[in-house]
Symmetry: C2
Subunit: 252 residues, 2 copies
Amino acid sequence: MTEQFAHPHHFQKDRPAELLGNSMPGLTDQDWLLLGGLRSVHRFVGRGRHLLNENEDVTMLKVICKGWAVRCSAIDKDRRQILDFLLPGDVVGLNVDGRGQALSDVIALTPCEVAEVDQTALHRLSSQSSGITDGIQYLLKRNIARTCDQAVRLGRMTAYERVVSLFLDIFFRQHSTMSEGTVDFPITQTVAADALGLSVVHVNRQVMRLRREGEVALTRRQLTLFDPVRLSETVGYRDRGFNNLPSAIAAE
Amino acid sequence: MTEQFAHPHHFQKDRPAELLGNSMPGLTDQDWLLLGGLRSVHRFVGRGRHLLNENEDVTMLKVICKGWAVRCSAIDKDRRQILDFLLPGDVVGLNVDGRGQALSDVIALTPCEVAEVDQTALHRLSSQSSGITDGIQYLLKRNIARTCDQAVRLGRMTAYERVVSLFLDIFFRQHSTMSEGTVDFPITQTVAADALGLSVVHVNRQVMRLRREGEVALTRRQLTLFDPVRLSETVGYRDRGFNNLPSAIAAE
DNA sequence: CGTGTAATTGAAATAGCTCAACTAGGGTGG
DNA sequence: CCACCCTAGTTGAGCTATTTCAATTACACG
């Protein structure tokens, strides 16, 4: 399918291991060594291509090195729900059902670079190091947290709140203070609509409103929040301690 | 003693070790022994009482031995989103943020009996047995699957579909064939509304419709589905392999 | 037997959707 | 360099699913 871009000669040991390790707090030097020894295959995936298909047997984990992707479940031809956005460092293939099959599709939102790691190889490492075991658990817990927040958004927030809350999520995944700032935002309004359970038209109206209110600037690829604190308060945003906000660091 | 735990299915389901072990497939006899040796404290929790508060530091895991609970996040005084239903065998305390604090409240839906287990004690067991490590991962993955399904429901299904899909979920968690049957259903329409992101009134209208269509019978505590197969097809229900449906067993 | 919680039903209000038309850019080929 | 497309964004107008409000009925439980 999408695997025609493999570069078998080009084994990049450092970057995938580094990205993976950075997503797992509390690794020892020994753990880093083990991770560094993981054999990985680097691949390029074009925008819109699948990194994973729902119900596919997951044998390889994929660490996103560059680009953005979405985890997404299609319920019929013209309804799909985006469950999560994946940024560099995120791992594809952890969300599986009781048979080890993928729970949802994963689709490249921008051209992506991923490092493929054999699942059983990582499992083997994990049995040698409790740090890595804990690291995988940490990634699973982060996925749970994101999906819970997503469910609350979808179930009990107004359109306006959903948009703000998505903006805050994406913002704080890239920005580590509570002050004004600009971050990458390669998310079209159509994609945002599928993430927020709204129609494109209605997403657009909320974005327009936020612009009129002077809360955000939004171009094709960049999002600026002018007062993240105020926005956080208006929608009851809660940091979950998986980003790099000071509160999380302070609580260590 | 060893022999007692080797055949879990033949034993009563109300003991913490059995309940926990039964939720973790693929345990060895040795794993069962370890679990059986876990010290646990038995508690009774009244209906409506909290088993866990959002943001509470989680030091104890609680295995539900009897009764039902909900995992639920309050966004303000009169909006809350129920994320999951917990039945006997489910574990309270796995869904935590990056600081080890609970992501959501857990509230007893009926009077509950729980077995409290020290988290670090279980963690210690887990470092002695890869079966138990995998078991915990399995529980986390099940939580992810449930929350993903919940997000799809909330984001992209009509009211009618949401109700049917919740009924199917609850049904197949207690019924292991695709044929007509009756299961426990201690869920008031108000509670269902908070789980489905709908108003009580509208939930009621969907239930009435389902009754009129002859699809369900629903009393205060019992739910009957007359044709689960047809219902599954109309809402695109997918079994995730965490219940006891034949498909799951067959795929082993 | 009362009393409070849960279910049911109708009617009016509304948040969000659909349809449709139009604008703005960004890339591509001639 | 322009003409052309194609995708993304924007806006208006009418429609509908769902909510809110309000009133009534059933039901469990002390």
